[in-house]
Symmetry: C2
Subunit: 239 residues, 2 copies
């Protein structure tokens, strides 16, 4: 370990600047649950954990506040955003609303390239197992990424950068809940068929059916998280 090297020699993996690199790593750790909800993010601790100075760390945290993954209060520092049943409910309901908009617009405006993108994304997703382990559930990052890509592909046709960005934001927040729940219990469900049905309805331009399936898809995720036994005390939301 080159402790006294001038700067990280190979800094390309993640971003050109240290701040961006630290941002990526903290972000991953929060979503994966390595940094627990409500956990204090003190300057000194993070400086050690990520081997960086105060400035990049602080910058990274500031960026994360924008995504609602980190809370900040003047003179009190940074905390990992709390979780709670109430917040989860708001999150899912908001996703239903916003993604319905994006879905309707996508179906209305989507062109051939858009359709192709969905088919490809689904195909890729189908080839990867839900769980990294044969028996029982083990987090599979590849599946997670392709799953995200599939849903993104569907909403990509909506034609509104703002709505698309916001959908991504909400999806990341939901991902954290999903991750936390996944560490506790493995929900058995046939997600492949769900995705297939959604895709079919979307490609067929059957708006109402697509919306209904999409809503059900999101609600099911919510139920699974709630049922997983994840302690969602509302007190854990600092802000």
């Amino acid at each position: 370990m080159p402790s006294r090297m001038k700067t990280a020699p190979d800094n390309r993996s993640g971003g050109p600047t240290i701040a961006t690199s630290v941002y990526d790593r903290i972000r991953r750790d929060i979503i994966s649950g390595a940094l627990a909800p409500g956990h204090k993010l003190g300057s000194t601790t993070l400086r050690e954990r990520y081997q960086a100075g105060i400035s990049p760390v602080r910058e990274a945290l500031n960026r994360l506040v924008a995504e609602n993954l980190v809370c900040f209060e003047d003179q009190k520092g940074f905390h990992v955003a709390g979780i709670g049943a109430e917040d989860l409910d708001d999150l899912i309901r908001t996703r239903c609303h916003i993604e319905e908009i994006a879905l309707r617009e996508s179906i209305a405006n989507g062109d051939d390239a858009w359709e192709d993108g969905i088919v490809v994304a689904f195909h890729r997703l189908s080839k990867v197992p839900r769980s990294a382990a044969e028996d029982g559930f083990e987090f599979n990052p590849e599946w997670e990424e392709l799953h995200h890509a599939f849903h993104t592909a569907i909403l990509a046709g909506c034609g509104s950068p703002r709505i698309q960005t916001y959908c991504e934001l909400l999806a990341d927040q939901a991902k954290r809940y999903r991750q936390l729940a996944a560490t506790i219990s493995y929900p058995h469900r046939n997600e492949r068929d769900e995705h297939q049905d959604i895709m079919d309805a979307v490609i067929a331009r059957d708006v109402e059916r697509a919306v209904a399936l999409h809503h059900a898809h999101l609600k099911k995720t919510n139920d699974i998280i709630v049922r997983s036994g994840l302690s969602l005390s509302p007190e854990r939301v600092p802000a």
Copy 2:
């Protein structure tokens, strides 16, 4: 209860920290147009302009990136977010979508206190003239604030912190366009009646009428900005 202010809650004359103070001031300057769209926000310049060190300035800018008022690129620094006809169109259409959701939810869930809030906000708004000058238009900050409060009051009943926060965000972005347009030409329109009609429909719980009026209200703003002659070259959007 959740009076979600975007700025720090403790906003007494500058804020507790320099970063927050600088954040408020830059924010004001961008929305008011004092800092033109696309303008470079160099560390040295801002350090002089706001009489603060690099760290607080950088922190303030990072917070503003979250609101889409500032763009950032690694190794290239900060710029005031660009404007453009395309972006304005996206903004207005997004507002129509999101605020329709908030409006429907508000009408469905709003209680007596919510109704009271709307009536009070409207009353206060009615007492203040649209223009600060007797003849011709002059920007009236008091009216702007009360106008904002009126619309916020209507959407306050939606029960979703996320949607409400996002509405505020979009409203601030729209405010900048409105401000820039206002410096050029004064659009004559009877906004008081428009607000009255919206309020009446909302209080009467006439959802469809309220939504229709609300959409028309937003679209009219868009038309006025476009017609104001504000140069909206799409090239001015850096990111």
